[in-house]
Symmetry: C2
Subunit: 404 residues, 2 copies
């Protein structure tokens, strides 16, 4: 049986490049960019006034001039008004082009205005310390041609705004991953059906589809009863059409757990079966050459959850951003825990942000790995390593979050 | 001028209940539930077999019996097979109903099987410690009628799965907030236009729309030149139709900054103007009775960003979940910082998860508050309080995140 680290490594090794598509700028939020974007102009594109006030020539400040007649007014978006008389000033607004003949801006807060023979005059109360004050000079942030966004970045609001600045109305991005969510089991009935006393409604498939939606992947759900003929016919089209299959149930030791054999028969190469972890041990993972990867997760809800966030989500991310680093988030265990078996233990925890910059992990009691409702009080799992059995309050361990 | 705390308090005080709508289960991911959901049956609904193996009567274990002929086999989803002979056993799979006449399950790992005169017989290698072993008893997790999900919770994958379990095919949720994003300024041209030398493309509106989309709100963008007549005509329908308006630009001291006066004229009550913070000081906030709240944010991109995440996002969240607590996340400052003015300083930072359960905040140099591209290297802002001027490496401060 392999370790969680080795299983994770083998899962991520199957991540594949995904096709791209071109979408309108705002539809690219949360997607991954597949083309580099460079500055089409300098940033700022001109000597940009950074404060509302007056633009003047610093020479006159150096020669102790304090009163400046206003020769013109220039708002942002107006053509620049050249200053002909170096003893005068242009009243000017943030975002405007610095007028030719001026080099410095004095803000309103450092000025007083009065009228003298019909002429508006500004008196400088606090002289600017140097030429260029309150001017954001052309190209100081970025130069034309500079790379702004490399291919491979995730597009959040800042990236979308930068793309807008250079006029990128559409962007080439990775298309969402397509995942088939396959439930099996005669005991499972549809959401809208009233279960007989020995039946339950399907819920794992909804959990997986909800988690896929949060991860930006597209999914479709398929249900099969424990019927080998139906699976033998139904699975091949899914293996051909989807990037991944997530199966839940049918992979432990029971008589109806024929999925691993069936998958091998359908040309899915087994990469591993069973991982040294609790819960979620009977995880089967494989790949069809030229087709989907197959995550066959154990059927109990908590196991499905652990394995989705430990394996499926990182695989989706790695397909989208193969070169990104995903630094591990750690949290401090809030009380002592013992776990004797030599396996990685995924401890259900509620997370709390402390006032001292920590994340605290409070262990939660959940009633066996089948108690879905008890996950409602949890935010994730603390991943406690297999080579320890005593875990001390205050020690930091990696956290696998499913909330927040 | 009011403090950031007071401004935040006044903004959140205007949060209003929003109408509800009914959506299919999977469309409810990320939304807020507006009806309580209770268990329609016990959880589990029957004495549920928790391991693959055999079900037997613990009395026979107590009387030292070790070999059990298999009287029947029962998979999950099958009607329970009552055990007539208390010396025999039922071979049984996880998820099945515990057969009448049995009370205990022994898992395959603790058994050996052989055939004796055409009869399959299980030998118990490791006897179960007590009656009820490996049985998940009816109603141990939840009882019929128990509240599972109260109104007001955010629906993540665990909540969606619980809703599926009780057959909730549709859910009543809060509808998304509707926000009009209004840009003003003659210097701004459309994305698809080639700007003249003294013009720039609109980008703030895209940043705000992208951030709203990430927050689950719906938005529409509107642009006005610095033209009072157009605004006087254009704003009233927006104030009536949207939950909020986010304006960017037009609220500082410049001659073209007539928005505050215009908004008051249109019946928007000013709640405050200017906050003791940098950047983002000239923030104007108001509310129209029976209409939208108005966030008029200063126009430079970094100020817009700070104020969106400090004020607009918490307002959206509070409208959706008025009773939720939003514990503040803190991060440790990675190096000493001085900031003398008596204002709250939003320090741009890159965040790093340490191996010791901390979040570390690395200050980033950004070229004045107009340098949008420099936000690409940041994950958020550390909110440094107004009543301090020296901030020491290792101290924890609240972090306003816009990434991760």
């Amino acid at each position: 049986m392999i370790s969680v680290d080795e299983a994770t490594r083998q899962v991520l090794a199957t991540a594949r490049p995904i096709p791209t598509e071109t979408v309108p700028l705002l539809d690219a939020v949360g997607r991954v960019l597949h083309e580099p974007l460079s500055a089409d102009r300098d940033f700022p594109p001109f000597n940009r006034v950074a404060m509302d006030g007056i633009a003047l020539n610093f020479n006159s400040i150096e020669s102790k001039q304090v009163a400046f007649p206003i020769a013109a007014t220039q708002l942002a978006g107006m053509l620049p008004q050249a200053l002909a008389d170096p003893q005068a000033a242009v009243e000017i607004m943030t975002g405007a082009v610095l007028p030719p003949g001026t080099d410095t801006v004095v803000r309103y807060e450092d000025l007083e205005f009065h009228e003298a023979s019909g002429q508006r005059v500004a008196t400088v109360l606090v002289p600017p310390p140097a030429a260029g004050h309150n001017v954001h000079h052309q190209a100081t942030d970025r130069q034309q041609g500079d790379l702004l966004l490399p291919a491979g970045v995730r597009l959040g609001p800042a990236e979308i705004a930068v793309a807008a600045t250079i006029g990128a109305a559409v962007l080439r991005v990775g298309r969402p991953l397509r995942v088939a969510v396959v439930s099996t089991g005669d005991e499972l009935v549809a959401l809208t059906q009233t279960p007989l006393p020995h039946q339950i409604r399907r819920s794992n498939a909804y959990m997986v589809q909800a988690a896929l939606r949060e991860a930006g992947a597209e999914s479709e759900a398929f249900h099969f009863n424990d019927d080998q003929a139906a699976l033998r016919q139904g699975l091949p089209p899914l293996l051909a059409a989807f990037d991944a299959l997530v199966l839940s149930g049918g992979v432990s030791k029971g008589q109806a757990d024929f999925l691993p054999a069936m998958l091998r028969e359908l040309g899915v190469t087994q990469i591993f079966h069973e991982v040294r972890q609790r819960p979620g041990k009977p995880f089967w993972f494989g790949e069809k050459a030229g087709g989907a990867v197959v995550f066959a997760l154990p059927g109990n809800p908590v196991s499905t959850f652990v394995n989705f966030y430990q394996y499926v989500l990182p695989w989706l991310r790695t397909c989208q951003q193969p070169h990104a680093l995903w630094p591990e988030v750690t949290a401090l265990l809030a009380k002592n825990i013992s776990f004797l078996p030599p396996m990685t233990y995924f401890l259900p925890v509620r997370l709390e942000a402390s006032a001292y910059g920590h994340l605290l992990a409070h262990p939660q009691t959940i009633g066996g790995s089948g108690d879905l409702a008890s996950l409602l009080q949890c935010d994730g799992f603390l991943r406690l390593p297999a080579d320890q059995s005593e875990f001390k309050a205050g020690d930091a361990f990696p956290v696998v979050r499913f909330r927040g």
